[in-house]
Subunit: 470 residues, 2 copies
């Protein structure tokens, strides 16, 4: 009897606790009346984005300005274009936030000539100086070349490196589903190659382009120096020419490269983050931020990186305008300057946000290209919050979003401390590194439907955050 009672009580407790946890879960879910409304809005968002292609046409205009390296004249033209566009679209407030940015210039001479042992020119190699590199003397540097696949190999062969140009030759490993994995595992060569070369007496660094497309288009990007070592010039070389160079060295270890760069770092200059917002009706001090970076590399159009993210961030707010939705919370588009060359725009905005009395409820960064939507990566430890966002998947799926999971958000918004939910928008990654940081990254490589689905996916997420809070 007692036994039965105890067992019964235990079972009852167990069942009750199941019911309680279920009801706690269902509390986080959308009530059925709202669900009908949200479904309707989500469908309108997708339909408007896909059939009007308004953001795509904005991106065409932005790309016509040309590349937008921080500190360049073009970057200021683009900033002003974005400011005027947000005003024209009727955002409540649009402003520029001053930011100091570096000002590196590629210059006009950028040449790598392969020479045989007798200094006879064999072939011109397809290169681009890496961002931040020093130039060479005006008559270039001429040196033998050592090819290595890793910093470990360079260390082991350090006696051979002295006086030579170090050629970092390890390609992106393409064997993973996500191209970001391969990119991350090869990017050390571009970022730290000049430092590692200098450590062992190397006089320059040439890095195989970080690309998933086997063409001869070089992919640039940021590189670093340290004060404790000599600064040596650094360039990236097209994938096919990297193969050619590798074969040439195997054929004749005494071949040389004559490298001439007249790139130069000018003094820092003033630039701006571009910020525009639509004020929330019920909770104007709760901010939902969407953003990308308005600077790009100085080759191509910066179409995917990150013109697309910027225009999606503008279009998300415009979608509220064209569907006549007044948001409950304040929606803010932030176009950060200088993501590529130092994140000073992100830091400046973070200083402003962290000292503000307004709460940054959520921030979504779009900086992985404008391909078919996959998911949102959320930088939080709260399982409850991630579960809540997951309960919205049936709505987000209308724009192709398939998952929401814990992960990093983005380089710009992760500078802000005062955000509850930092998120990264994650599209398909298969074609991104074909284009990234290269002359391939042009408007024509952006597909209108893939781009617009990104705007729609972010707009649905922002709409739900604005309506439901967190």
């Amino acid at each position: 009897m007692i036994n039965h009672s105890i067992v019964f009580t235990l079972i009852l407790t167990l069942i009750l606790s199941l019911f309680i946890s279920n009801s706690a879960l269902s509390q986080s879910k959308i009530d059925s009346l709202s669900l009908i409304k949200y479904t309707n809005v989500a469908e309108q968002i997708v339909s408007s984005a896909l059939s009007e292609r308004k953001g795509y046409e904005m991106l065409r205009n932005l790309c016509r300005i040309g590349p937008r390296l921080s500190g360049s004249k073009n970057s200021l033209i683009a900033l002003n274009w974005a400011k005027n566009k947000m005003k024209e679209l009727g955002f409540d407030t649009v402003w520029l936030q001053p930011v100091i940015v570096p000002h590196w210039e590629r210059g006009n001479i950028e040449e790598a000539i392969l020479l045989d042992s007798d200094n006879k020119p064999l072939r011109r190699l397809n290169i681009l100086a890496l961002g931040g590199s020093i130039g060479t003397p005006s008559n270039g540097i001429t040196a033998k070349v050592i090819e290595v696949n890793s910093f470990e190999e360079l260390k082991e062969r350090k006696d051979e490196a002295n006086g030579k140009i170090v050629f970092f030759s390890r390609p992106i490993n393409q064997s993973n589903l996500s191209t970001f994995t391969g990119y991350s595992n090869a990017a050390d060569q571009r970022v730290y190659g000049a430092i590692e070369a200098a450590k062992y007496g190397g006089v320059g660094a040439i890095v195989r382009s970080l690309t998933t497309r086997y063409d001869n288009v070089p992919h640039t990007g940021m590189m670093s120096y340290v004060d404790s070592l000599p600064k040596v010039p650094a360039a990236t070389i097209g994938y096919l020419d990297a193969d050619f160079l590798s074969e040439a060295i195997k054929g004749n270890p005494n071949i040389k490269i004559k490298l001439t760069l007249d790139c130069v770092t000018q003094p820092d200059v003033k630039s701006y983050n571009v910020i525009g917002e639509i004020r929330g009706e019920e909770f104007p001090d709760e901010i939902i931020l969407v953003g990308g970076h308005i600077d790009s590399w100085d080759v191509g159009d910066g179409a995917h990186d990150d013109g697309a993210g910027c225009v999606q961030s503008i279009e998300v707010l415009d979608i509220f305008k064209r569907l006549n939705i007044t948001p409950k919370r304040t929606l803010r588009t932030v176009l950060f300057i200088n993501e590529e060359t130092g994140l000073t725009g992100a830091k400046e905005y973070a200083a402003f946000a962290d000292s503000s009395k307004q709460t940054h409820l959520a921030a979504i960064e779009s900086d992985r290209g404008a391909f078919t939507p996959l998911g949102f990566s959320v930088d939080t430890d709260s399982i409850a919050l991630i579960e809540k966002l997951n309960s919205w998947l049936p709505l987000l799926r209308k724009a192709g979003i398939i998952w929401i999971k814990k992960g990093g958000s983005g380089a710009d918004i992760s500078q802000i401390k005062n955000i509850i939910l930092p998120m990264g928008y994650v599209p398909d990654s298969q074609r991104y590194f074909d284009l990234h940081h290269s002359p391939n990254d042009v408007f024509e490589e952006v597909h209108p439907r893939e781009f617009e689905l990104g705007s729609a996916a972010i707009a649905i997420m922002v709409y739900l955050l604005s309506e439901e809070g967190i």
Copy 2:
């Protein structure tokens, strides 16, 4: 006391039933030792496909043959290429199955001239005859044009149609996530347009191309006649020229089109399905089929439709070869002839399969382009089977597969009655109808990683089906 007992028993039953249903579920799951092995194999499959790009290079070769319309010389060259390729790759058995196919030829003259009311030529319009269309008299047909957006509109305006060319102008509606939705809702115009035109005395049909890319490239495809009505010539017109024509008619309802086509249907000819297999070690009479259709339209390369599906179907078996995996069950590649113009290849194979003593355990059709993998659509009513396949998702996800759900399989394999699991491989659809049935569908539009992930996704599914059965 009695009350307590009853409640207690009820609760116990409830809990026991929960346990039982859980254990039933877990029985369908993979045991943990196998899971380690399968994970390892799935990773090897993805890595081999993505880093070797062997299928992609095969597709390059197939596309070099040119388009492969059923009954054409090229289609026979392609069949033989595929047969030889499977032999070269060491498949156990490779054979050709005879099939009678239609033989329609586009001919050399294909012209639509817009004329003003005085028969003065205004402009040449970009057209392609639809597959199966009759030709015109050698001096063409000249007639006024009526533009309609639907068969309903044509019926309402039937008195205006007599003696005119009917211009079916409704574009694909792009407002949905899946482009197949928009395509399906517009394809009636291409398939039945000539019949509907003839019903009301129309003398020809011109159909706006079924495309999601707003260029001027016409997209062809199959059309039908019925014996009870006159046969009128039918062509498709580029999207931009469809817009132009629409404006021109609004400006002057008396403009005419002079349409000249010398396409012709020749007598049926003999062709072949290409079949190759690797015999299973444990259950050789249980077949797992992978297939696509080797015929294509007669423009472009038929790269996505369906060169890619054919080569993926070959590469899946080759992946077993290169990873030295002996399958438990028999794997069979079937390249069907004549999917585009009548499905006689599919019907011939189905007759063979349905009369065979071997069991077709599963068949996977790849005929939706070679884009980033999304899922498998399974044509079964068995929830248990779909649940079982869903339990494999952690392995399939390594190639990007995100869902498995009930749905159609594919035009070719759905002719076979004797299959337990007919499935369709479903990649992302955003770019498919930019290319489908048009000169745009060339090898250069196939992305190597997207293509190879498809091979890998199907190979993992086939591997699990072969190891685990169903």
